[in-house]
Symmetry: C2
Subunit: 348 residues, 2 copies
DNA sequence: TTGTAGGCGTTATCAA
DNA sequence: TTGATAACGCCTACAA
């Protein structure tokens, strides 16, 4: 009779202990890979565990350890595709571990946001959380995680924190390169659709854009800068503003693909051919950039890898610990330019 | 001194019991809204709870109740936008409850899939799960949920289960309507890009398409049917096949927006104007349908509402129970045609 | 290297 | 209507 009570339940640590003739604690040590354990004992216990198909109960562990085996994803819905890519990366990292992913959208803007998150973290006792931009840029949020004793990793477009708590891309440099490419092609009048005020990514990308123009000694009239909020609709409005200019810019850099797609859309709407009469570059390399016509030149943001890395940073020190200490996860990722049909030299 | 031990911890049920001069069990009754409770006692306990800011510990509850306060989303990544919309719907339903959402992608195709899911459900002891298509169409999976005692709701394109375990849309009828619209416009040679073999949604949509043609007594040569797997790339290949036909169809119905966008893309690539020379209809009303040029006529699938409803079905009977018994969630949702610029009467 | 006793914070049983 | 006591399944101290 392998099980303690009713046949309904799955085997517990007690069953394992009894059948292998050791104490619960010893079984616990095996489960948690305690170093001080007789090899023979360990082997015997592992055998019983395998025979029984025993799996430790996560709820009980959570209660005893005061921490759940869950990784949280906290975000403020920056962009659908991005959230999904991040989830994919996290799940790849969690694959094969005991961890699961729990998703928690929050409302930046809401005054109660910090309290909500604190409440959430204190209640759920997550093992760690991953913070997505733009909310990851909020320092108070990071401090909050520290306060409640929850590991965290922030994702962002620039160095936001120390390497253990951050995974970033080099947006500024990437956009500088993309803009330089437009200049190389011969463009001199280049419009910018900036991201929303207050977003670090928006600032970084804008600075990269300005860096490139400054290097080429091209001056940038304010009229060539329009602001969007990373949505298609806002990109449309910004694009219309730029396309109404006279003379019209021969190229536009949009701070993300949604807005880049909107530029193409707006151009077509008023009979402006892309790329013959207007070159366009986006940012993110989301599916839409490859699916519209013409396919959009864009900056590939290695978001899936970043998310995977962020999750791995959280998990380091889980099983046995020191082994992976020196194989530390990178905290800086490079974005690269993806050249597609939406850019050509200007025709004038 | 409100707390039992170290100041580090949050108040527990013991603190509440002591301060309100009742037993733990009574406090527990208050928390769980037990009906047999003296009003005065309840009031006093609630007051202490509120004063202390006491919140029950979910880990302890999970252990004692043998069920977590988590709703799982199990999917096989049918489509990025869809997964995200579903998450949004679920989270809307969970808003303000004690429940959180946990996301679990699985690998249909993998022989170990069912075992994986069983393992997952048995370990995590979820309160309930929501199954997304196409994996929701797998009856063995539904039976599995029953076996391990986990509530479930399946989402799909047709009635897959009894109303308590299902939320469905009427794809067949919706596609019949969309196709009839093409016929009304004068189209007689209409191509179909079907969904992948073995998907219920693919079958339903195809049948709706055939229903409309049959009603109008238009016969459908096999050459006008191409099959894709709901991805942009597969849509491209299917579109090329149809556009190479001679005579070329004057309209194409694609079984989802990704493939519809691919039709537009392929047409542009070979200089075929949409909608002047080719009308296109998609399905889903995902963002891309509105963002490409021309905007795609499509079928709006109320996926967010469906997901919200699915989650609510799971939660029914949680707090107090009977109250909401008659306000039962709908299990059938209607899709509607969204007319945009990608359809015009044929020019010949 | 291993075991014993007790705790984690809640709910269930059953008697009062 | 309420309370004492024992689960739930695991882990930490401390002792051996």
């Amino acid at each position: 009779m392998p099980f303690g009570r009713r046949g309904t339940g799955k085997p517990t640590i007690n069953d394992v202990a009894r059948l292998s003739g050791v104490s619960k604690k010893t079984v616990s040590r095996v489960i948690n890979r305690s170093p001080l354990l007789n090899d023979e004992t360990r082997r015997r216990v592992l055998e019983v565990i395998s025979d029984l198909g025993y799996v430790p109960n996560p709820q009980a562990r959570a209660l005893a350890l005061r921490t759940n085996f869950l990784i949280g994803l906290i975000h403020d819905n920056p962009n659908a595709q991005m959230v999904l890519n991040v989830q994919q990366g996290i799940l790849e990292a969690l694959q094969g571990t005991d961890f699961e992913m729990i998703v928690r959208p929050v409302d930046r803007g809401s005054a109660a946001m910090l309290d909500d998150v604190r409440h959430f973290l204190e209640r759920q006792r997550l093992y760690g959380v991953i913070l997505l931009p733009p909310i990851s840029e909020n320092d108070a949020l990071a401090r909050l995680c520290d306060e409640v004793g929850c590991r965290y990793v922030r994702m962002g477009s620039a160095e936001l924190d120390d390497p253990d708590h951050m995974v970033a891309s080099n947006d500024r440099e990437a956009v500088r390169g993309a803009t330089a490419y437009l200049i190389e092609q011969g463009h001199r009048s280049i419009g910018l659709i900036a991201g929303p005020h207050g977003f670090r990514s928006a600032t970084e990308r804008r600075q990269g854009f300005e860096d490139a123009l400054a290097e080429a000694k091209i001056k940038l009239p304010r009229s060539l800068i329009a602001e969007g909020n990373y949505t298609f609709a806002s990109g449309l409005a910004a694009a219309e503003k730029l396309l109404d200019l006279s003379p019209r810019p021969t190229a536009i850099f949009a701070s993300n693909d949604e807005m880049g797609a909107a530029v193409v859309h707006a151009a077509r709407q008023r009979g402006i051919d892309v790329p013959e009469q207007l070159s366009v570059i986006g940012f993110d390399d989301t599916p839409i950039s490859a699916h519209i016509w013409p396919p959009l030149t864009t900056v590939r943001w290695p978001i899936v890898s970043m998310a995977r890395s962020a999750a791995l940073k959280l998990l380091v020190s889980v099983g046995g610990a020191e082994a992976e200490a020196d194989v530390s996860e990178p905290s800086m990722f490079l974005s690269t330019l993806v050249k597609r049909a939406s850019v050509t030299p200007p025709k004038t």
